[in-house]
């Protein structure tokens, strides 16, 4: 494979559920060694992207490629390079802890049983315990342990933090970060807990209904995207490409922008409104997400 070739490439994906448009001409790519976080409100199609990527959903039009191979014709070798975590940490729950390791180990030549049992040891559960009898959090740790043991070149994780307690979430984020950095792995993930993503992802892609709202390096969002609060006598502010989600909050106004305070002031005052006590705050990724997508 050409080292410059994107690990994930989607071109002009258009998909509908019935008559409801999910995306139109969605295009993006993920370069080798990057950790990309896919964010979006409920129902914006994050899991749908993952299903399309892995060939489990045929879009109305467009194509996705993993390691250069089209999604509906992935070779066994390419599937072996992709570690897939399904939403809800779905696994074969009729196995017990030891059986499922035995089952998967024969499929992957780089299988690292130590990585799996290392994570399992922290659970303090018997190797003979059936997965179906475990708590949601324990099941998720089994699923994640299996993925690390597989040692894939690309990890696709759908809502990886679901069901994990805060300590294990932190542990997993650190583990994943180290795993990706050391092995030059590529990671494509979604999560509802955005504060975990902040310390993990290199690039952030935010989905809105039907389109990509933003696809930027996380550092750029954290450095340049800010919340501006101000007082004004204006009744309303017309839409402006520089400003995001301008709204009155109590007696003051707030807006979000990548622009400098001077540019924001200029944009706000464009219709003659008086702008007083303009103040810029830096944001966490979660605040930035809300600033970009709105609260509702």
């Amino acid at each position: 494979m050409n080292p410059d070739m994107p690990v994930i490439e989607c071109r002009n994906i258009t998909h509908y559920y019935g008559n409801r448009l999910i995306y139109e001409n969605l295009s993006f790519e993920v370069q080798p060694g990057k950790i990309l976080g896919l964010l979006g409100k409920n129902g914006t199609g994050k899991t749908t992207v993952i299903n399309i990527l892995n060939g489990y959903l045929k879009p109305r039009s467009g194509v996705c490629r993993l390691f250069g191979e089209e999604m509906d014709r992935l070779s066994p070798a390419t599937k072996g390079r992709v570690g897939l975590l399904l939403e809800g940490h779905v696994q074969h729950a009729y196995f017990n802890v030891r059986q499922i390791e035995r089952y998967y180990s024969r499929f992957f030549p780089r299988w690292n049983a130590g990585a799996y049992f290392g994570l399992i040891d922290r659970l303090k559960i018997a190797p003979s315990q059936k997965i179906s009898t475990m708590s949601c959090g324990q099941r998720s740790q089994v699923a994640l342990g299996l993925l690390f043991a597989q040692d894939p070149d690309l990890l696709i994780l759908d809502d990886f933090s679901m069901g994990l307690d805060p300590g294990y979430r932190r542990l997993f984020v650190e583990y994943l970060r180290e795993y990706a950095a050391e092995g030059g792995k590529t990671v494509f993930l979604t999560s509802h807990i955005i504060q975990d993503m902040e310390r993990l992802i290199d690039d952030c892609m935010i989905l809105d209904y039907g389109r990509i709202l933003l696809h930027e390096p996380t550092s750029r969002i954290l450095d340049r995207f800010g919340r501006f609060t101000f007082a004004s006598n204006a009744e309303d502010f017309p839409a402006n490409p520089v400003l995001w989600n301008t709204a009155r909050v109590g007696s003051r106004w707030e807006t979000y922008s990548f622009a400098s305070p001077e540019e924001v002031r200029e944009a706000l005052a464009a219709n003659g409104a008086e702008i007083l006590a303009l103040n810029r705050e830096t944001l966490s990724l979660e605040d930035a997400f809300i600033g970009l997508t709105g609260k509702y």
């Binding site: 299903n51 892995n54 489990y56 509906d72 399904l86 696994q91 074969h92 196995f95 089952y103 024969r106």
Partner: protein
């Protein structure tokens, strides 16, 4: 890798397989006890005459048992795959998808066929020990459609089970049930023999139905 797939199928189906074996064994014991009782009470000559004159079904339980076993095996194998769409994990394994499905289907077919064949042999042995070869042969041939219904029911139940849309499952069930009913038509011993090759042809064709359901699953039909 295929050993791993067989291992997974075994873990899923071992309880159901045990139940199937027990049901066949219980049915065989019950049938032989009934025959032994008739032979003891009426005598061999009267029994043979009755069989020749009236042509009763000597193993009525075995007409339906293989089909029930086929449905049970398919449910044990594929319901867990459909729960939470675990089939995605199975199809994501580094093997060709058709090969994975073929291995799973071959496992289920082997379970149903081997159990049926084993107990078929037991029945033939028991018949041969108590009846002349002509009667034993005719009674055994009468069971053939029922035995063939086992794998056929397995293929049809797999086809219905893996279909991702409920409305289509119902739609698949109707022709499936009608086709399966051909294996249970009442007739004199041997009357079914000309139909056996056709039933065999249908059984062979039904093996491939499951690939259609899986293709629809892969396309994300909901």
């Amino acid at each position: 890798m295929y050993r791993s797939i067989i291992y997974k199928e075994w873990i899923k189906t071992r309880t159901a397989t045990g139940f199937i074996v027990l049901a066949f064994a219980a049915a065989a014991i019950h049938s032989f006890m009934k025959i032994a009782e008739d032979l003891r009470l009426s005598g061999a000559a009267a029994c043979w005459e009755l069989v020749i004159q009236k042509d009763p079904a000597m193993f009525p339980l075995f007409e339906y048992l293989p089909a029930i076993a086929g449905v049970l095996a398919a449910l044990a194998q594929y319901v867990p795959e459909l729960q939470s769409k675990r089939l995605k994990l199975t199809l994501h394994l580094p093997l060709k998808e058709d090969a994975i499905l073929l291995a799973m289907s071959a496992y289920g077919t082997a379970v149903v066929t081997l159990v049926t064949a084993f107990f078929g042999a037991v029945l033939l042995w028991g018949l041969s020990a108590n009846f002349p070869a002509e009667i034993a042969g005719a009674s055994f041939r009468r069971l053939l459609p029922g035995f063939m219904a086992g794998p056929s029911a397995y293929f049809l139940a797999s086809w219905i089970c893996l279909e991702p849309r409920w409305s289509r499952r119902v739609l698949n069930f109707i022709p499936g049930a009608l086709a399966l009913s051909l294996f249970f038509m009442r007739a004199k011993s041997g009357a079914f023999c000309p139909l056996v090759p056709w039933l065999g042809g249908f059984m062979a064709a039904a093996f491939f139905f499951v690939f259609q359901s899986t293709a629809r699953f892969k396309d994300g039909v909901q």
